[in-house]
Symmetry: C2
Subunit: 248 residues, 2 copies
């Protein structure tokens, strides 16, 4: 039985919900975690409102092996992630000497004003996540990893977190092009293949472009032989169905 | 007092959580709803698992004016949104004659097999949302709008839904470039401006590129005069601070 390590991702920020900023972190984190053997099971996006952040953190951290968050750790008044995290865990928060030292690498003594010192506010008991780009650290508290929202910084933080994570069996996937065969033709056969082996899950993904519909089938699972056998069954199914050209 | 109409968005699909497909609907829906005067307050992404979909639907539909969903309404076994929605509302589900008629516009009699007929399964009491591209309809049940996951289809469905929605006062926003002034320098003044008028919310958004950090400040609100006054205060604040060049 393959071990399953699970995760949720919480994106914090009004700017995503108003459409001002297009999120670039969800797809990156999803692919990254899948690649190292962690199953991303849920994503939420919430506004810069403490009660919303606290509720989401507490719902998600209790349900999954890990919770990753992005956003809200800068120096301005709308950066309330650290305080919300302390509240979610019921712990104190203050200027962390290690975080202050990191900021001192970047700012001259007179420059480290009260607003910038906000970036050194870390909940009690948390470990820091280094930020080689702009120094202000993220942190880990319990099973929650708090990262920056700026994609370049989030990505280096994730790289430094990854070696510390427990990982499960990696998801293996096989992509099969339906090559013009409509979903409605292979749906019944595909359902039978999916139902025959609970170690695999099969998805059918239509996309639409100027050239019309393109259907792709993805067979996923953690048992290589089972994925291979199901993929082979899908390929044989499609070979039998070739000829019908009505899309979707 | 401006009326507030709120919404949540639920993205249904394993393919987003594994990173196979990059979501293109969140940013589009966020911008669209903001533009017509509906506040998007929360987004969730869940896998193709009935219990997860039902739980998310029931949590979100009770909390916001509207819930929009994307994904899972095609003909294959992994398309379980309609059945999950019936379960969430505790109503029956069957082949809807109006939906069957729509599919008959597209498929010849012999082509409308059992799998394709799945796309006509609609929860009892729902209204249909037309799909001019591939005919298979979405639907509205209560305050929930169920749309396709394929962006081009989701977008035309949203266009047809929009005129039926109650909308509130539109969010007005003013974007101000910080032009090289670091967040840490304007954070204190910005917090004071934000705290002075509860009708406005102010966000500070650093982004990072080959040219270094770029900070943008956005003043948002539904009262035009209040937004204008706060934006003017921000511009004056930045003018006073010009000169300090240490980014972030």
């Amino acid at each position: 039985m393959a071990v399953s390590v699970t995760a949720a991702l919480l994106i914090i920020g009004d700017e995503i919900l108003t459409g001002r900023t297009k999120d670039k972190n969800i797809g990156y984190v999803a692919k990254y975690l899948t690649g190292i053997g962690i199953d991303l099971r849920e994503v939420r996006i919430v506004p810069d409102v403490e009660a919303e952040i606290v509720a989401a953190v507490n719902a998600l951290r209790q349900r999954y092996t890990y919770l990753f968050t992005t956003g809200g750790i800068g120096p301005t008044h709308d950066d309330i992630t650290a305080d919300s995290m302390a509240k979610a865990f019921g712990v104190g928060i203050g200027h962390d000497p290690r975080a202050v030292a990191m900021l001192q690498e970047r700012y001259q003594p007179g420059e480290l004003n009260e607003a910038r010192m906000r970036m050194a506010r870390i909940p009690d008991g948390a470990d820091l996540i280094e930020n080689p780009i702009s120094k202000a650290p993220g942190f880990r508290i319990g099973n929650v990893f708090v990262m920056a929202g700026v994609p370049a910084i989030m990505q280096v933080m994730l790289d430094s977190i990854a070696p510390t994570l427990e990982t499960g069996a990696k998801m293996i996937s096989r992509l099969i092009e339906a090559e013009g065969i409509p979903e409605g033709h292979y749906a019944e056969g595909l359902a039978a293949i999916a139902a025959a082996d609970e170690r695999v899950s099969i998805g059918s993904y239509p996309s639409f472009s100027a050239n019309g519909f393109r259907n792709q089938i993805v067979v996923r699972g953690k048992d290589a032989a089972a994925v291979e056998a199901a993929a082979e069954a899908v390929i044989q199914l499609l070979a039998r169905l070739k000829g019908d050209r009505n899309p979707l």
